[in-house]
């Protein structure tokens, strides 16, 4: 019977499309859970500078470059231990003086300026801090002395955009990022253009003890990153979008299953036992139907907990006695009057056996389509809660990405990807389940086909 239903289902193109979307989402979920385990995802998503320090802020997805003539820069990251593009010369000058020179060379073929240039210096010294000079070499050979500094405390980060002296040295107008000055062909032009070619950063280090070491790292932050871009905390949105999929699916499925199954059972019990049991269920339903779900959820989120699974429990509890009780009851009342129920009673089937084996199977064909169409509405509810600031504090979800985007004015800043990516996923989830659900409805309730 089920196989027949499936065969009939795949005759509907919309059902096939819906199935494809759902299978895609499920595949993404499985892939995500396997490749980024839960703890790892949480660690990454809650991580700060130590994890995301080398990633540009608010970067658009890298594939944007495929659709624009103006290529935006990717991030260039090099360390003093790398082979390619790095030349390192270490030498002893005297008994108490060693040099450690590193030359970083990189190609810059992009049409836009990078976000930032940072050089991180790590020193392991016994006494006297090493001394470092940084020299910037443009493709045309002009040199700019960036900074001279002692690596005090073992670590020092030099950021070009925070170096006001450099701006003055380059004779840049006010409010122009020194990074532009380092890359532009003509920094004073109204719309400066970056010079293409091979740039060099020369790092001249001076050490004072034979055991002292100096490590360095150069990061030229681009303005595009990964397949999903990054947010204001430099986090890769890909993690949230990937992990949002299993969270959304399991939340939607659990909530839809929980409410549908429990509603059906409660309606069946009410109809079967009748009398005060039925009356009580009906009154509870009528009261519950006028309770505002969202404000209750907001109150719970504000005063008690924002855990996704606690919210799930509350949503199921509040939706059990929903309108479904009334529609299920109408069907069960018809089923209860069927002669085969009387026959079952006459041959001694118990109340529970009649409810589960004789009444429930009759309603399952009508329940399956509504269950499927109900799933996205709970996914949306979760996203709405997140946008209202009631998202789970730990889990990365689509709703929380939208909430972050809203809180950081993504749309005002033109960071459309930040809002559109999670919205697109929410949308295809909704459409996928809706298309499958409507087709299921036609398969299981053939009378609808004429409409």
């Amino acid at each position: 019977m089920l196989r027949g239903a499936f065969k009939e289902l795949v005759r509907y193109p919309s059902a096939l499309a819906g199935l494809v979307v759902i299978i895609f989402l499920v595949a993404v979920s499985i892939y995500t859970v396997i490749t980024i385990p839960y703890e790892e995802a949480i660690r990454l998503w809650r991580g700060g500078e130590e994890i995301w320090g080398d990633v540009p802020k608010l970067a658009a997805p890298a594939w944007f470059n495929n659709f624009t003539a103006k290529k935006r820069p990717l991030t260039i990251k090099m360390t003093s231990d790398d082979e390619a593009g790095v030349e390192r010369k270490q030498a002893q000058v005297s008994d108490a003086l060693w040099t450690d020179d590193v030359v970083y060379s990189f190609d810059y073929p992009y049409d836009d300026f990078p976000q930032e240039i940072a050089v991180t210096l790590l020193a392991q010294v016994r006494e006297k801090a090493p001394y470092v000079s940084l020299i910037w070499v443009k493709p045309d050979g002009t040199e700019v002395r960036l900074a001279d500094m002692a690596v005090e405390g073992g670590k020092r980060v030099y950021r070009v955009s925070q170096d006001e002296k450099l701006g003055r040295k380059l004779k840049l107008p006010e409010n122009v990022n020194p990074v532009v000055g380092l890359f532009a062909e003509d920094p004073t032009a109204a719309e400066p253009v970056p010079m293409k070619g091979t740039y060099q950063v020369r790092l001249e280090g001076t050490l004072f003890e034979p055991e002292d070491t100096l490590q360095s790292k150069l990061v030229v932050y681009g303005t595009v990153y990964g397949w999903a871009g990054t947010d204001h905390l430099r986090r890769d949105l890909g993690i949230a979008l990937l992990w949002g999929t299993p969270v959304a699916l399991s939340f939607g499925l659990l909530a839809a299953m929980g409410t549908t199954v429990l509603t059906m059972l409660i309606a069946a019990i009410g109809v079967w036992y009748g009398g005060w049991v039925d009356a009580l269920i009906q009154r509870i339903t009528e009261v519950n139907l006028v309770l505002p779900v969202l404000p209750i959820l907001i109150m719970i989120g504000v005063f008690y907990t924002r855990s996704l699974w606690a919210m799930l429990g509350v949503i199921i509890l509040l939706s059990i006695f929903g309108a479904g009780i009334k529609t299920n009851r109408a069907i069960f009342l018809q089923v209860k009057a069927q002669p085969y129920i009387e026959a079952a009673k006459a041959y001694g089937a118990s109340d529970w056996r009649i409810i589960f084996f004789y009444m429930v199977p009759r309603i399952i064909p009508t329940i399956i389509p509504s269950l499927v169409t109900l799933i996205p509405s709970f996914v949306f509810l979760e996203a709405s809660l997140a946008v209202l600031g009631l998202g789970d504090p730990v889990l990365p979800t689509w709703g929380k990405v939208i909430d972050d985007a809203r809180a950081n004015g993504a749309l005002y800043q033109g960071l459309y990807y930040w809002v559109l990516e999670p919205s697109f996923l929410l949308m295809i989830t909704g459409i996928g389940f809706a298309m499958l659900g409507f087709s299921l409805d036609r398969v299981f309730n053939p009378r609808l086909r004429e409409l």
């Binding site: 009356a279 069927q338 002669p339 085969y340 009387e342 026959a343 079952a344 009673k345 006459a346 041959y347 001694g348 089937a349 056996r353 084996f357 004789y358 199977p361 009759r362």
Partner: protein, 358 residues
Amino acid sequence: MTTMTQTAPQAAPASERPVLLSVRHLKVWYELRKWGFGLAGYVKAVDDVSFDLHEGEAIAIVGESGCGKSSLMKAILGLVPPHDGQILYQGQDIFAGGRAGLRWYRSQVGYVQQDPFGALPPFMSVRRILEEPLILVGVKDRDERLARIRAVMEEVKLSPPEDFLNKFPHMLSGGQQQRVVIARAMIRNPKLMVADEPVSMLDASVRVEILKLLRQIQEEHNLAVIYITHDLSTVRYFSERIFVMYAGKVIEKASTDELLWHPQHPYTLALLNAISDPDAANARKLREVPPGEPPSLVTPPPGCRFHPRCKYAIEGECDVNVPPEFPTRPQHLTACWLYDERYAQQRQALEADLGDLA
């Protein structure tokens, strides 16, 4: 009547066999509620009905719709608790033994319903349908269940059983469906079968076969049968006695031939007159039917419940006192005041009409 000439099975006289089921002053009253609570009265669907059913005996309960025959049947099946009175099965009140007692009693009773399609759960296969009653009496072994199912299917002529075991009710014809219903009723080897209009929803062509099958099963298993119908023309197939019900009361009890050939009660007379036989003469004959409608069961008329529609009614008697059962002929009890010694004169009009029928 001419088309139905078979006579009821006549083994040992029914009255000599032990009593299987005894109905004593049974009242099935349904409560009427006002505003959802507060008793507003009763629907007196069955009001003071008594009879004995012997082992292997087939009785028919006849009456028009709404006369209480279905309520009587439901009480006998233990589906509706009686308001008053008792139903004794082998001397035991079926409701006295609690849940377990009722469960055991139900395993002794088979139930054949009117609408075969509605009587079978549409989502269960024939095999599952027939398995359910066996599971409920604790037959744990699958093979044992299957063997029993096969045996019963052969018996109701659903053979070979393999062709039907995995079918769903909607794949079967009406006659086959009713055979599955009969098989389900017989699967636990009951001693009593309650058949509620088992052929009224079947095609005329299948009716006779199903009736013959029921009769064959009844004879082979020495089954007591309560056959409920509104159709007197099917009664002769296998009932030994007929009870005629009107407005919650049994008004006439007699052996089948006795009742069909010598009806005594004015209502029975009207019922027999209403049987339509395929006879061209009937088209030109205007049938005489009693005026009016069956009475309300909430406030039934005092005295004899048929008196408002009875043209022989005796004022001051029929509309005041409930008639007792008069032994009007051998094996024939009639609840009608006309058979009281005092009203021999008034009876003559009825007897004249009865003569016409014969």
